[in-house]
């Protein structure tokens, strides 16, 4: 078993602590009033899991299914459709960088290179050895006039050029 696999295994082996208890459950239940079905809370519930746990594990999928009256297989089918839900643990800071044509025309590839180099990720789609960063290339972030947009976690940063990368990363210890 590789180190990466055993790390994932170790995470899975920990006892699962439910997300939807106390205030979190109350927050979800409050939102039921805004929709005619419980199922409509699926995307919001998955966001609530990811905000609290960083990613969406198999036990979390089962928990969401139970809370909303769905099956785990169904929930998994939905989770995997959407690219922003993480089905594996990711680095402490999740970095998304746009590489679609309009940004590509304005140098996105150089920004990607700088991000990979300065984070130590080496390759897009991977996590740095210290677990600090994960860098992924994504499609259009809806800010094409501000090439190249980069998201670090929930922060949206416009006009990132390679020279700005070191200072940007320094803000995320």
């Amino acid at each position: 078993m590789s180190a990466a696999q055993s790390a994932v295994h170790a995470v899975d082996a920990q006892p699962y602590e439910p997300v939807f208890t106390g205030d979190t459950l109350a927050e979800l239940e409050q939102r039921f009033a805004e929709y005619p079905t419980r199922q409509a809370l699926l995307l919001p519930a998955l966001w609530m899991v990811q905000e609290r746990r960083g990613w969406i594990s198999e036990p979390a999928i089962s928990e969401v299914a139970t809370v909303l009256g769905l099956t785990p297989a169904y929930v998994k089918g939905v989770v995997t459709f959407y690219t922003m839900y993480h089905t594996h643990p990711v680095g402490r800071h999740f970095i998304q960088v746009c590489t679609t044509s309009p940004c590509g025309l304005c140098g996105a590839e150089d920004t990607v290179k700088a991000l990979l180099e300065h984070t130590g990720c080496g390759e897009a789609g991977t996590t740095s050895p210290d677990g600090r960063f994960t860098v992924v290339e994504v499609e259009c972030l809806g800010a094409c006039g501000f090439a190249t947009p980069v998201m670090v976690g929930d922060d949206f940063i416009e006009s990132v050029t390679p020279d700005k990368v070191p200072d940007l990363l320094a803000r995320y210890p």
Binding site: E34, A40, L41, P44, W47, V78, T83, C140, A143, D155
Partner: protein, 435 residues
């Protein structure tokens, strides 16, 4: 205004008047600037009268298809006793398009006001605003604005003291371009995978949760209060080209121009004025090569076509393209058209929901063939293969994502064939290494 740049004299500033003015973000700030007058007026009118105003104004959908808004609203059944829904499409993911983001960031109450008027006009007590997951800052600003609107009594069970019920719920997407397609978006709100639905039934008959639904783009709804306050005649008079294209339009300009940004122009404004006066033209020493005027899903225009086009629905069709979402991607003579078209095809292949064979296979094969050409392994027969694929991908699928992938390929081959040939005939060095 040409946000983030100061307003240019060639613009007609209506929706973008307060871009950059953080004071306009609060409920009080919005009211000070004349906000919520449109909603107040609407709540004193019969819903049918509002719909008539929209029809008379000539307002058309700003999300891509340009469908007349008043007509769309009039399709909603009356007296059917079912709950109706208004959905606002804030998924903005079409490459080249970044206008709805600025509307939400700077004038969240303009959108709330437009949604409230729309909901009342179509007999809906609830509006869902579906905001793409990556728009974290617009989400925060919109959330605060909705909270304020409830606190001020503008929204709720007695909206502005009218006795009418108007609720707004924000719903966050989670990364999927296809969720901008209206029926995929409805599935997404319902807690499903974002697969587009087969039409009919159309949303006005059976949309969100199976109920009569109207879906409109952010910019469409943000224009509604202005029409109510200043009148349909005023809106209709904003037209420099074809009388069927009225009002102002935010044009997002990106790529190789000196000043990328959002420019608000009266429909029918010459594209030349936008490109060279407002956006400052190309970078020094560069010349215009191509423009994709309506977001990445519309046919590519040559420099000559672009320079002679009028920016409105009819003007761009006349030049073989479309206004679409008005996300304008500008390329100068340094752009490699084959590479850019491959990159667009790769986008569609990545975003295909994979329900339809022609789309799932077509987008993937198109990308692969273009990658092969760029790696120096192309063949003359690839032209026929690409055009044949494109033909099979057009008009044959559940939604038009498939057609959108074909559009730049077909127009690209027709207009820039020489660039493809240069790779195929090994006159140009490969830029991709294929495994």
């Amino acid at each position: 205004m040409g946000f983030p740049h100061p307003s240019h004299a060639g613009e007609t500033v209506v929706l973008s008047k307060y871009f950059g003015d953080a004071g306009a973000r609060t409920h009080a700030g919005w009211v000070e600037r004349g906000g919520y007058e449109g909603l107040r007026k609407a709540l004193g009118m019969a819903p049918e009268a509002i719909i008539e105003d929209m029809k008379a104004s000539g307002l058309r959908g700003r999300g891509g298809a340009g469908f007349p808004t008043g007509l769309k609203w009039s399709f909603m059944p009356k007296g059917d006793g079912k709950p109706h829904y208004l959905v606002c499409n804030a998924d903005e993911s079409e490459p080249g398009t970044f206008k709805d983001r600025e509307i939400m960031r700077w004038t969240p109450h303009a959108l709330i006001e437009g949604c409230a008027i729309g909901a009342y006009a179509i007999g809906a007590e609830r509006c869902y605003i579906y905001i793409r997951g990556e728009f974290t800052e617009p989400w925060t600003i919109m959330s605060e604005a909705v909270r304020e609107a409830y606190a001020a009594g503008t929204l709720g069970d007695n909206a502005m003291g009218s006795g009418k019920t108007i609720h707004i719920t924000l719903h966050r997407g989670a990364g999927a371009y296809i969720c901008g397609e209206e029926t995929a978006l409805m599935n997404s709100i319902e807690g499903r995978r974002g697969n587009p639905r087969i039409k009919p039934p159309f949303p006005a008959a059976a949309g969100l949760f199976g109920m009569p639904t109207t879906i409109n783009n952010v910019e469409t709804l943000a224009a509604v209060p202005h029409i109510l306050v200043r009148g349909a005649e005023w809106y209709k008079s904003l037209s420099r080209g074809n009388p069927k294209s009225t009002g102002t339009k935010l044009i997002s300009v990106c790529g190789h121009v000196q000043r990328p940004g959002n420019y608000e122009v009266t429909l029918g404004t010459p594209m030349k004025d936008l490109l060279y006066d407002m956006c400052g033209g190309m970078r020094p020493g560069r010349t215009l090569k191509a423009v994709i005027p309506g977001g990445s899903s519309v046919p590519i225009m040559t420099a000559e076509e672009a320079e002679s086009a009028l920016l409105d629905y009819e003007g761009l069709i006349e030049k073989g393209s479309m206004l679409g979402s008005a996300g304008m991607i500008v390329m100068d003579d340094s752009a490699d058209m084959v590479y850019q078209i491959m990159r667009l095809a790769r986008f569609y292949a990545h975003e295909s929901c994979a329900q339809c064979t022609q789309c799932r296979e077509g987008t993937a094969w198109t990308t692969r063939i273009l990658e092969r050409i760029l790696s120096g392994k192309g063949k003359e027969s690839d032209f026929d293969l690409l055009l044949d694929l494109a033909d099979n991908m057009t008009g044959t699928t559940i939604c038009v994502l498939s057609d959108s992938c074909a559009a730049p390929v077909v127009s690209g081959i027709r207009k820039f064939r020489g660039e493809f040939e240069a790779y195929i005939r090994r006159e140009r060095a490969p830029v991709l290494a294929l495994a």
